[in-house]
């Protein structure tokens, strides 16, 4: 299995807050050493590797994970789903709900 973690640098050069949050949770949950590559999608540089990977996979949000194994390639843009399906572990329901909202901002509108 090969896991690529793509995080974003904002147009103003600041690190993306949600990417920092996911990085912190990867560390906290002990998964950082399972990440094979960390790549930056730099909004100031449309040709940065992370932006290229996002285009290749049709991803329009960051952070996200690209997981490659014998079954193929899967992309996860929600942390708790990555943890559930790749790490075979569970996050708390509160964190899962927050992840869902972060990646699906319309859900608050129900």
């Amino acid at each position: 299995m090969h896991i690529t973690f793509v995080k974003k640098i904002l147009a103003n050069g600041e690190p993306c807050g949600k990417c920092a949050d996911v990085s912190m949770r990867l560390q906290r949950d002990g998964y950082m050493d399972r990440i094979d590559r960390t790549v930056v999608a730099d909004e100031r540089d449309p040709y940065s590797e992370g932006m290229r990977i996002a285009t290749e996979h049709g991803v329009d949000r960051a952070p996200f994970f690209v997981v490659e194994d014998v079954t193929g390639r899967r992309v996860f843009d929600v942390y708790f789903k990555f943890v559930n399906e790749v790490m075979k572990a569970r996050t708390s329901d509160v964190e899962a709900a927050r992840d869902l909202l972060n990646q699906n901002p319309d859900l608050d509108f129900v």
Binding site: M51, D60, D93, V94, A97, R98, D108, F109
Partner: protein, 242 residues
Amino acid sequence: MDNPNVHIQLHEPTPEDILLDAASRFASDKIAISFSGAEDVVLLDMAHRLGIEVGVFSLDTGRLHAETYRFIEDVRSRYNLKIEMLMPEASAVEQLVREKGLFSFYKDGHNECCGVRKIMPLRRKLSSLDAWITGQRRDQSVTRMDVPLEQVDKAFSTVDHTVTKFNPLAGWSSADVWSYIRTNEVPYNPLHDRGFVSIGCEPCTRAIGPHEHERAGRWWWEEATQKECGLHAQNIIKIVNR
């Protein structure tokens, strides 16, 4: 023809078509309408007229307007419905309030509170359903411009369980909705008469002016941070066109 959206209606099934189709494809205990206590009452009226048997649920965050609770009750008796009120998990609300107080959303943003009070109960409910029906429309916000009539709900689907989402009103405008309400004498939330367009929780909803967008009535204090997780589309388009 004086309806500016007639071109959409000519090419799309009607909301009634979508409701009938949805009800025919899913068992009545596996599909439900999500009713927010606002304009989506139109869906309940349509389902009632069509004689469709589907469940109905509302997310009772505990922070709705008194008018909304009364309206939900009016709808329940008018249509003789069993509306399932989904409550947040008490321990999660208690922890949030204990740690951050009752109005943390004004300072920390609304996602944490919405997560606890809406998304957790919704996720719990959708894990027991195969499909749900919403009142989402393309004209409600820029993030809804591409809302399809039917979609696999990727947010709530898992590897083992696919959830389908129907949005029968996707192609309707607000004017279409209100035309239906007036024509069919559908009951509506009295807050609409006081300038509320989008109606959610009381602390996070306000009346808007005639030229303000619907979204301006919700979480108005944090507008600038709404799209922080998005990757700039312009940049991606540049790559594709290179």
